[in-house]
Symmetry: C2
Subunit: 346 residues, 2 copies
DNA sequence: CGCTTCCATGGAAGCGCTTCCAGTAGCACG
DNA sequence: CGTGCTACTGGAAGCGCTTCCATGGAAGCG
């Protein structure tokens, strides 16, 4: 059964047409009579013919290969949800679009990380690149890829990433704002905020939104304290005590993502606090962990899988010429505050 | 800068040799003088030449493409850790081996799932296939892939998967046994066991090991009750009450994976139980969630990322001819019981 | 009715590589 | 000095496809 696979010439022979005609049928080209098209299709089916993507790529100059790069490192950062969901969405979208995605993990601390990414797209001849945070804000990387003729879509870009290449994401600033409004509504007036890594712009926007909501209630610097984590459970658990012991004595801890919130929750349990009676805690992302911890976490939902799907769709639109916009396009998807059980009235 | 990339002929011209010689250097072939080899290398560097994998594949008949198939569906089953870690390990291994992996997600309930997998490997010309549970036990799928001339490695195969193709995994039966011994040592004599999905053999082996440990203490059917979950948090949370309300009144709940254990934990909290004082709970896998829940979960660690890495290595060994064993090889990696805080003496 | 235009099809070239086979040079041997 | 090696190098063919251009016939037009 290992016998050689049929080629386009086999199909041509069986259906009694020239190779070119089969190619036309394969690629949905025009100028083929319906009768002939049907005959070719039948031969394809009969022979169980599948185009050889390598040959097609070589001849046509289009590899139909996309690259998806993510930074998170399972060693230090078990939160693979965001990346997994993006990938799954991308994979799903590819299924119908006839593209394949090559995944690459490049931990953020990799010394020659930019080169690693560029090497992948040049050596594998990728036509498109999906960048997840924090790479979606790496302007020099984006420009280098673009210069290679590789289309780029950034997922959840912050300020810099936005506007250079196509992008897709939720409005992080509004998400942070909405979450803060919710806590204000519940009567909270003293906050702790656990921010994301320095330079992670989409996380910074969450904080900015939070700040804006406070400002609307005339609450300034005196009303909240900030600590900077690295998105991991560990950092949340580590930072929580500092904030809780601060003289401000916050009644709510707002985190830039769910994993850190889970860490805060764990630290709160460890010191015997009752959640949400003694302390309100919020996250961001609505990752599975948010529903798994006890009590389940109030957070901001974002449709991560759809983000991945859209990223591929936008890329393919550029590649097929369906999108010829001369300026970068940004698709903004909806977020939503999800009320669970870690928030209560003060 | 979008200018065409250099080809092997450019390298040949610059270094003053024939194309074939460059090809020899590229592929580490013999019969090239050191001086010539160095000259070619210099030209490659100078031109920043990268082999065109599509052309190579077309000419040489080797795509250097591997497929990784996993079943878990983020919609119903947020536990992407196992698959993510496998993938990451596989990706890492590929980095040095010059292979690429094509990832595909095929939810288990997909009607034509076998066809979907075969389509991927035939249409993309994949040379190797990595199957994670439950596909690692799908004998007909394995044989179909093998018949296509595609090498197969199964990850954590149960009975059937083992012995048909190369495989890698831990000793699930021993893992279940070890965990049970530990609970017996702590004085537990009445158990609840939350098993995995019917037909998920590696999970069944965990139960078998558990049963054997009990039997060694002369504890039989009367000492434990079983419920069957589907590996999700939800199913653990759902099943726990049934087991706890059973007249046997188990003092420990043993779960076939961590997510279900987290669900049990959540259900236990919901009914006001104090863990581990009122109830001991154990998981399996040592996924990140095990360290994130409160209190952190006692579980059996397995080196998932290494599993993924080994899977690729075994595949490549077959493809390059480094491994010519006529019978399937199985690599068994070590597991270890990780004591955290959901287990206590009875 | 002779002209252009359009549609449907095919022939040939060539994408960038590897593999097969045919050299050529250098050397030891009798 | 011819023979038979071995070590190295190159020419040519061809992998399975797409693209460019040529061809023939059917329609459209004045």
């Amino acid at each position: 059964m290992t016998g050689k696979r049929p080629t386009i010439d086999d199909v041509a022979r069986v259906s009694g047409v020239a190779r070119v005609t089969v190619s036309r049928v394969l690629n949905g080209g025009p100028n083929v009579r319906d009768e002939v098209r049907a005959r070719v299709m039948r031969a394809i089916e009969q022979l169980d013919y599948k185009v050889n993507p390598q040959a097609r790529s070589l001849a046509g100059g289009a590899s139909r290969l996309l690259a998806f790069v993510f930074a998170s490192d399972l060693e230090n950062d078990p939160n693979s949800y965001y990346e997994s969901a993006l990938e799954l969405g991308a994979l799903r979208a590819c299924l119908t679009l006839g593209y394949q995605v090559l995944v690459q993990n490049v931990p953020q601390q990799t010394p020659d990380r930019e080169k690693r990414v560029l090497d992948l797209i040049t050596s594998q001849r990728c036509e498109g690149l999906i960048l997840s945070p924090p790479y979606s804000d790496d302007v020099s990387l984006i420009q280098a890829a673009l210069a290679q003729g590789c289309k780029v879509v950034t997922v959840s870009p912050g300020g810099p990433g936005r506007g250079i290449a196509d992008g897709v994401g939720v409005d992080d600033e509004a998400g942070g704002y909405d979450m803060a409004r919710e806590l204000l509504r519940l009567g909270h007036r003293r906050f702790g905020f656990i921010a994301g890594l320095e330079g992670h712009l989409s996380a910074d926007r969450r904080m900015k939104g939070f700040e804006r909501a406070l400002a609307e209630e005339s609450l300034g610097q005196e009303a909240w304290i900030m600590a900077r984590g690295d998105f991991t459970f560990r950092s949340g658990a580590h930072l929580a005590p500092q904030l809780l012991d601060h003289p401000l004595s916050p009644s709510a801890l707002v985190c830039a993502n769910d994993d850190m919130a889970a860490g805060v929750l764990s630290a709160a349990h460890a010191r015997g606090l009752s959640i949400p009676r003694d302390l309100s805690i919020t996250g961001f992302d609505d990752a599975p962990v948010a529903a798994i911890v006890w009590p389940p976490l109030t957070t901001v939902h974002q449709p991560v899988k759809v983000l991945g799907q859209r990223a591929v769709e936008m890329l393919v639109a550029r590649l097929t010429g369906a999108n010829t916009a001369s300026t970068p396009v940004f698709q903004q998807l909806d977020h939503a505050v999800v009320h669970r059980q870690t928030t209560a009235a003060r």
